[in-house]
Symmetry: C2
Subunit: 327 residues, 2 copies
DNA sequence: GCGACATGGCAACCATCTACGACGTGGCCA
DNA sequence: TGGCCACGTCGTAGATGGTTGCCATGTCGC
């Protein structure tokens, strides 16, 4: 591998000059030309490791998400990349699997790789960001609001959107509406439950707390929960699913059993889904969220004293058409 | 950030000893204890950047895939992680979007970050791996066989499985079977077409070349292609989709238009899919593929002279049940 | 001729690893 | 019992590749 010294020798200048030319500082036009030619001839690419060591931070951004197989999060990854790639950063996508241990290992890697910044959707409320914050690393929290720590935050309007979805079920004529949400220690889970409750309260109805289930935000959880609900002595006539994957799992069960209930799903179903007759779905602007989070992060990397932002993105109900985008 | 010097001072030893303790070389037990205590007290974590610079390679593995929103590739990512994480490596997931420019940018990053190895599903046949191979970096190619270059390769039995799927449609009584595949410059695309042709030949039938469509391996491509096929004067009575996303798009169209045709899909449909009545689906062992690729890579990192392997994984037809795994 | 400014080179620096050398101890032989 | 040799263990210092503060040199203008 050609080093900056090789280029310097070839061009007949010092390594410092090569460095200056390649990082765009003012250098005599003749030398600039010579350096450029030498670099090209040798196929020189700067050693990022050495750069990172000297500069004390790399051109890597960590993106830690709890489920790589959820299209919502992959959409976020896309958005993050949209914004970061033009700025010369590379995204390191890490799947924490909602596992605190795995997550903290990735946080450690982010620290010891001297990554320029981190965008993280915390596994749950116990996620520890202090290794990053203590060292003054740029951090943006997405999707799940930690409430306590002070970072930039980009989240969805979970509660409002959940309420809107539940309300739409009422308007379709449903009366007994179950709520299937994620783990109780995840902020989005509880917020969406609150939205489900809100919709009841707005109509002066008591939410059917016996129909509130804490599941796992995954396909399998949606499947088994729907089975359990359908087998109840007094089953619900509609279900609100607090995320997309559980919604897909529920449909899977409904298809298998050839049954129908009303369904409201937070987040778009995958393409080709067997959408039930009575069904409302909200869009989740994942890509937008990723883009915004990346912009906030870039601003903070450039100037650590940038004031904190807390962005709340709408997740409106999608028009009833079959052509739902994947994310 | 505490450095190895801080730990050395605190423990009253030289930095070299600290390094030796932390990398498990034999050191006097008393000193070992002191060093460990000092490291813990200071919250020391080794600076990976400096390590990488010194060792000439990092603990990062690049995984370059053409579509992050395809569950097949995310399953691969999971498998790769399964195998690499216990070995102390971190995966850098890069989405090339089937774009040669983006892809080559990521290859450049891999080189200049001194990544320990690369697993890549090439965007198409023009993918250039020479920057990696010339520098002797460990490379494993997955999913799409470059045929020419010499690397470890892990692929699916594209042709055989495509043939099996098409044949299953014949056995369900279909006669006029369209084939919708990906871009013509992608190896898996053409292999799967060959499989579709094989199934015809085995029955002494001429494949309906007018029903062969090169599309994009994406949902939208499946949707529009299915529309076009259905609107033909002499439409097919079944369609073979050469990947999962296009299959989902086709179902989307069928649902919208409330039409039915036979369908064979290479790769599992997403959960909750509206599976047509006459439908066969093959499984794609993505996670397995990822795991295997990672193992091959690790072997090559340890010993660059390991003989090349070419692994071909079966993609068998799934039993006809609704409970299809996501990948 | 002197001062101001532009420009490029020297060398220190980033954090870690490791070859080499120094030192100490223990054993063996005279 | 003393001296020498061998071995084991730890410290010193150089190397990894690129950046940048500081200084020397050169040029231009007054």
């Amino acid at each position: 591998m050609a080093t900056i010294y090789d280029v310097a020798t070839q061009a007949g200048v010092s390594p410092a000059t090569v460095s200056r030319v390649l990082s765009g500082k003012t250098v005599n036009a003749v030398l600039t030309k010579k350096v450029r030619a030498a670099a090209k001839a040798l196929g020189y690419r700067a050693n990022r490791t050495a750069q990172s060591l000297r500069r004390q931070h790399s051109k890597l951004i960590g993106l830690i998400i709890p489920d790589i197989e959820n299209s919502y999060f992959t959409a976020i990854a896309r958005g993050v990349e949209d914004a970061l790639e033009p700025a010369g950063y590379s995204v390191v996508l890490c799947n924490s699997d909602s596992d605190l241990q795995k997550e903290s290992r990735y946080v450690d890697v982010a620290v010891s790789e001297a990554m320029a910044g981190i965008i993280i959707a915390p596994a749950n409320a116990k996620t520890d960001l202090s290794p990053l914050l203590d060292r003054g690393r740029a951090v943006v929290v997405i999707d799940r609001d930690p409430l306590t720590v002070e970072t930039d935050v980009v989240v969805l309007a979970d509660r409002a959107s959940a309420s809107e979805l539940t309300n739409a079920l009422f308007e379709l004529g449903h009366e007994r509406i179950a709520c299937v949400t994620g783990p109780a220690d995840v902020e989005t889970s509880v917020q969406r439950v609150e939205g489900w409750r809100d919709a009841h309260r707005m109509r002066g109805i008591d939410p059917a707390e016996d129909l509130l289930v804490f599941s796992d935000f995954k396909v399998a959880g949606g499947q088994t929960t729907m089975q359990r609900l359908l087998d109840l002595p007094n089953p619900p006539d509609a279900v609100f699913s607090a995320n997309n994957l559980m919604g897909a799992g529920m449909i899977e069960t409904l298809e298998q059993r050839r049954q129908q209930v009303g369904l409201a799903v937070f987040g778009p179903l995958p393409a080709g889904a067997a959408v039930p007759r009575s069904c409302v779905i909200s869009g989740t602007p994942g890509r937008e969220m990723g883009r915004l989070a990346a912009e906030r992060l870039l601003a903070r990397i450039v100037d650590a004293s940038t004031p904190m932002h807390r962005d709340v993105l709408e997740a409106p109900i999608l028009p009833d058409t079959r052509s739902r985008p994947l994310a």
